[in-house]
Symmetry: C2
Subunit: 310 residues, 2 copies
């Protein structure tokens, strides 16, 4: 019987540029670390939270990681079990990198591992989503599923929680730049029009299809022609200072595509190869830095593993 486990749940890029609310991809870094250990005191207790600047609640029912863990324990009929959780946030909040999803995944995954993995990773999805819902206000799998399962995830049906792992071309790298401007997911959702012109729906469907075919065929040129967002990007770009300059800098430096990560303000560029990704990331950072906006770069292959025990 395990006494203590430590897990890592990665950041993720919701929407993956072309698939609003129904696609996402996992990054190798940053991510959250969650410790779960058995304790004498019955019930689930959060005993430490670091890296959150005091923002996160210790009440498990009000904490993303805590709620995910407690939902799982209820399902397993183990609510009386004494378990302590430590949450170590190693990524920024409200960054568009799936911070709350990573915590939710980490909470459910850590407890599952501690208990000898009674459920498969896929079976943990609904519990992680309950945790994530607390933070984002929506029941969406586009960050939770990639953080949990890794890779590039397609959500065929959010209602049925039918999520598919898409093939990941080996040279696909992400350059993610987080500019330190605050956007809450709820705000970013609020500015979206509730209707989409039918013509834009058709155009975006073509891009989504092209991106998927590009993934299945490892066709980087096709991926590049398809990594566009005509629906969400034009509505949210205004929330990110210098958005179009950063995008242009990324494309000029060789990115296959560049747009908003999740609800922003982070921007993601997908690239062929780590060398190009490094150049692209530097070019993106330069624009923000010149404008006096503190920013952070994360270079990463697409993370094939998702959440792991450390």
């Amino acid at each position: 019987m395990l006494h203590e486990v430590k897990v890592f749940a990665p950041a993720s890029v919701g929407n993956a540029i072309v698939g609003f609310d129904m696609m996402g991809l996992a990054l190798s870094r940053p991510g959250d670390e969650i410790v779960a250990r058995r304790s004498e005191r019955p019930g689930l207790h959060i005993t430490a939270i670091t890296g959150d600047e005091g923002k996160l609640p210790y009440d498990p029912e009000k904490n993303t990681a805590g709620l995910a863990a407690s939902s799982l324990l209820k399902h397993l009929d183990k609510t009386g079990l004494g378990i302590e959780l430590e949450i170590h946030k190693c990524m920024p909040f409200g960054s568009g990198l799936g911070s709350s999803a990573a915590s939710a995944v980490g909470g459910a995954f850590a407890v599952n591992v501690l208990l000898g993995s009674p459920l498969s990773k896929r079976e943990l999805l609904p519990f992680a989503m309950q945790g994530e819902q607390l933070a984002s206000g929506g029941y969406h799998a586009d960050n939770v599923a990639p953080s949990l399962l890794g890779g590039i995830i397609l959500i065929r049906s959010n209602r049925d929680l039918d999520v598919l792992s898409l093939p990941v071309p080996t040279e696909l790298y992400a350059a993610v730049v987080y500019p330190e401007v605050e956007i809450l997911t709820k705000t970013a959702r609020g500015i979206l029009k509730t209707e989409v012109p039918l013509k834009q729906h058709v155009v975006q469907s073509g891009y989504l299809g092209g991106f998927m075919a590009g993934l299945f065929c490892s066709d980087y040129d096709l991926i590049g022609r398809s990594l566009r967002d005509v629906i969400i990007e034009p509505q949210r770009a205004c929330m990110i200072p210098h958005f179009y300059e950063v995008q242009q800098a990324a494309l000029s430096a060789g990115a296959l595509g560049c747009s908003i990560s999740g609800a922003g303000p982070s921007m993601v560029a997908l690239c062929k190869g780590d060398a190009i990704a490094a150049q692209v990331g530097a070019a993106m950072q330069q624009i923000f830095t010149q404008a006096g906006i503190p920013n952070e770069l994360f270079l990463s292959a697409v993370n094939a593993e998702g959440a792991i025990a450390l």
Copy 2:
């Protein structure tokens, strides 16, 4: 030098249920036959049209097949060449089976073959689309591209004419039933709302993605879970009498999915295997027949070849 050629251009299923205006698939039958032959008389002339009940014009600039052929001849700088076209319509008009697209493809393809195939099939696409535009009023590749190239076609970009051939699972069959009620494509377009709820866009994107992954993985179950249309079908179903009964009959008989072919009134069911397709087709016909609506069934594998010389 060829003196005369006869070609076949197949019917097609626009939208392929999940991909409005950006996907289509080719059927093996029905289709149009077009004859092109050299003649002493300079210029392009349509010398015979059969199967059209006298509806189609003989003026090449006003005839879908003629305009496609003449656009190609202009491009090749061969407008002075004496060419006669015969158009044999072997499929119903206004049926939702891409009748005008088949004629347009046949016209361009026949002339190209007659001239020793100076252009590749893919290069014929813009000329066939000019012909089709005459009939449908829109510049769309979702019928023209499958009729020309065969298979299941994804239109990544209609503007760039970037069309992709998707993999076709070997056991994928179509049962298409044409009920003899008239719907003009222009009318069917007119009833569509110009806006789509964002939530429906997300749901439909999931189905499109699921269908594509199903094609790439030959996963019939996934194809079945994905062959749904929450955007166009609810708006157009009212144009087809007994639509929902026919759809239910198809699904009960084992279809993977069933909806409107193109702009209707034909209905298409995709099935695993020809035996199930035959059962499904019979079940669909029965509903129309019981309602006193004359109808015709076309059973077909997905046509991998597209237009061919006979």
